[in-house]
């Protein structure tokens, strides 16, 4: 979607907020990728210094795909990001403060210390808050789209991220089949990053290519090189457009390599070195920067100012968050119900 001014103050100059040309779109996307990489790196540093509770999972190497997903959506669409979607979250309109507040446990964040890190979201604003069970968010996105159909709202799209490992779950199968039966405008984006934690694809699925599954579900399938931002923008743009036009679910499978551990606790020593050296192992952020410079869409100095500006925003968000109050167990309402009148006799 077009970056919301209130969601990301000062990130991108107003003239860049409309992506009316492919070149502009590419540059906007690159800048979200840059910001995502910088936030991720900064969170990883904080994690290593013991400042983050819980796990840290990075999108390194997956930013092109993630941002292409988020930037292809509009306000009013639905997005269910997964653990490697810092870029897609930003491009969809999540604020940096929602990110830093959740990682640092600020009481002012959307999760208020009740859930953390990659589990943040604002469901009422179309940004779903993932649970850890893979595949489980896909039917929830489908349900938001069913609701809109009942409500007579047309023209909105829902996107869900998943990894190749998540395609092995029953939830993935049930949800994609249901979405296909209901002909819902669902864009299901599979990041095939070659390893599900440490499990290689050879132990994950037996089909030649995951995209072959599209025909089995009766949905459109799109393959894309996940290291190529331009290709990701084209393919995600096309998939979202087709879903929006009523062509039913769109399955996108991107090939790439996770350029980090599963989480920051993991050194990824199991990754085949040959894969790292292959085209899959290219860093999509560097590839995109080289493209911008080669095409002379911006010079190195301009890219450097983008980098500095992004880094400054991250520092500002962190500085704000670090001054904020933490969750207080004495002020916590220890009841999970939304209905106050049922609280009597509910908990022990």
């Amino acid at each position: 979607m077009v970056p919301a001014a209130e969601a990301l103050p000062h990130t991108i100059e107003p003239h860049l907020m409309t992506s009316e040309s492919p070149q502009r779109l590419y540059i906007d996307a690159f800048r979200w990728m840059l910001l995502a990489r910088i936030v991720d790196d900064r969170i990883a540093t904080l994690y290593r210094s013991g400042k983050i509770q819980g796990g840290v999972f990075l999108g390194r190497g997956q930013e092109a795909l993630s941002v292409a997903t988020g930037i292809s959506l509009r306000k009013g669409d639905v997005f269910a990001p997964l653990i490697r979607d810092q870029g897609g979250r930003l491009a969809f309109g999540e604020s940096l403060l929602d990110c830093t507040r959740t990682y640092l446990g600020s009481r002012l964040g959307p999760m208020r210390g009740r859930d953390g890190n990659v589990h943040r979201g604002r469901p009422r604003e179309g940004l779903l808050a993932m649970i850890s069970h893979l595949g489980a968010m896909i039917p929830v996105v489908a349900g938001t789209l069913l609701a809109r159909r009942y409500q007579g709202i047309i023209g909105t799209v829902g996107a869900a991220s998943i990894g190749e490992g998540g395609t092995s779950t029953g939830a993935f199968h049930e949800a994609l089949n249901l979405a296909a039966v209901e002909k819902l405008p669902l864009v299901l984006v599979v990041a095939n990053n070659q390893y599900s934690y440490s499990t290689p694809n050879s132990r994950q699925f037996a089909c030649a290519d995951l995209i072959d599954r599209a025909i089995g579900y009766g949905v459109d399938g799109h393959s894309v090189d996940g290291t190529d931002l331009g290709a990701c923008l084209d393919v995600l743009g096309e998939a979202v457009t087709r879903a929006r036009a009523g062509r039913g679910p769109q399955l996108v499978v991107a090939s790439l390599l996770r350029l980090a551990g599963h989480g920051e606790h993991d050194d990824a020593s199991y990754v085949d070195p040959a894969l790292r050296e292959s085209a899959l192992g290219r860093d999509c952020l560097r590839v995109a920067e080289q493209q911008i410079l080669a095409e002379r869409w911006a010079d190195a100095e301009t890219v450097a100012t983008w980098r500095e500006s992004a880094a400054q925003q991250v520092e500002d968000a962190l500085a704000t968050t670090m001054r904020e109050p933490l969750p207080d167990p004495n002020q916590e309402d220890w009841c999970a119900l939304a209905s106050p009148h049922l609280k009597d006799g509910y908990a022990e």
């Binding site: 896909i138 789209l145 949800a175 009148h341 049922l342 009597d344 006799g345």
Partner: protein
């Protein structure tokens, strides 16, 4: 006369008529009217709002959660309570946690055709209420009467939290009332099903009727047995239970579900911790046997508590 099953159908019809946010989604619920006919005629009466789903319990529940986020009030029919285990993850990890995590309520109603019937066997007979009550964030209703089947289902749809509605299949056709109720006792309040003096039976769902039959039998011997119908097991009306135990001094908790970590254990734990001094004898409980639910009527009739076995337990309690 209206049956328990018809009351469930009528409650859904009224919810659909009164609230445009309500829709019904589940296997065979559309033109077919549901495996038990709980949605008979509703697809025709409410076009586009009573929809057949694929055979996908996880995706059915997951989609209801998404729709609830968007402001809808879905009613989901699981064909049998037993099959809700396939949607268990969505219920306990997604629906139950949504409001607490994100401040967005999850007003879904999941209807579970529950409990044993003759010949139904291990996978069409289960009572799942304790399992769902274990998870914070869910309301678990276990109506025992035609009136409650109707009014509690309407309340389930109105409640902002996810409701697990355990309707008992054994009561579907057997249980009848003169008419639908015009007033309702709110969820969270237990009902005094029979007043007594000598002992209290705390129970719910189909076991209310076995307990009442037992109380009737013991009345011929001069015993006055009080029967409390919990109506909802979460919330659990501890106050009404304690008040009854204060009158009788003796407690027998009865449930059709398995004993381990279940509703009867919870009732006894609450009375023992909050009302130990009210007890004149150690509290007792009676549940189904701790095996899968057997298929053959000869075994099934002994597996679950009945008026006869409840009477045996009560006589022991009264002699204690």
């Amino acid at each position: 006369m209206i049956t328990y099953l018809e009351a469930i159908r009528e409650a859904q019809a009224r919810a659909l008529a009164d609230d445009p946010r309500v829709y019904i989604y589940g296997q065979d619920v559309g033109a077919f009217g549901g495996a038990f006919k709980a949605t008979k005629g509703l697809a025709k009466e409410f076009p586009g709002r009573v929809i057949d789903s694929p055979l996908s319990e996880d995706a059915i529940i997951g989609s209801a959660i998404g729709a609830a986020i968007e402001g809808m009030r879905p009613i989901i029919e699981m064909q049998f309570a037993d099959f809700s285990t396939v949607g268990f993850n969505q219920i306990v990890n997604q629906a139950a946690t949504l409001h607490w995590r994100t401040n967005v309520p999850c007003p879904i109603t999941v209807r579970l055709p529950s409990g044993g019937t003759s010949g139904a066997g291990p996978f069409h007979s289960q009572s799942m209420e304790a399992l769902y009550a274990h998870y914070p964030g869910l309301i678990v209703m276990t109506p025992a009467t035609v009136e409650d089947a109707y009014s509690m289902l309407l309340e389930a749809v109105a409640i902002d939290d996810p409701v697990i509605f355990c309707e008992h299949k054994y009561l579907y056709y057997h249980l009848k009332a003169e008419s639908l109720p015009t007033e309702a006792v709110p969820t969270g309040k237990a009902r005094l099903a029979r007043a007594g003096r000598d002992a209290t039976i705390v129970t719910y769902s189909a076991m209310v009727h076995e307990s009442l039959a037992c109380a009737e039998e013991l009345a011929t011997e001069g015993w006055e047995i009080e029967v409390i119908d919990l109506r909802s097991i979460k919330p659990l009306d501890t106050d009404t239970v304690l008040a009854s135990v204060a009158r009788t001094g003796r407690l027998l908790a009865v449930g059709e579900a398995w004993p381990w970590g279940g509703v009867t254990a919870e009732v006894i734990a609450r009375v023992a911790t909050e009302g130990f001094g009210l007890l004149d004898a150690p509290p007792m409980r009676l549940n189904a046997k701790d095996t899968p639910v057997p298929y053959h009527p000869n075994l099934w009739g002994t597996h679950r508590p009945t008026a006869k076995t409840i009477a045996i337990a009560l006589r022991r309690l009264l002699a204690a």
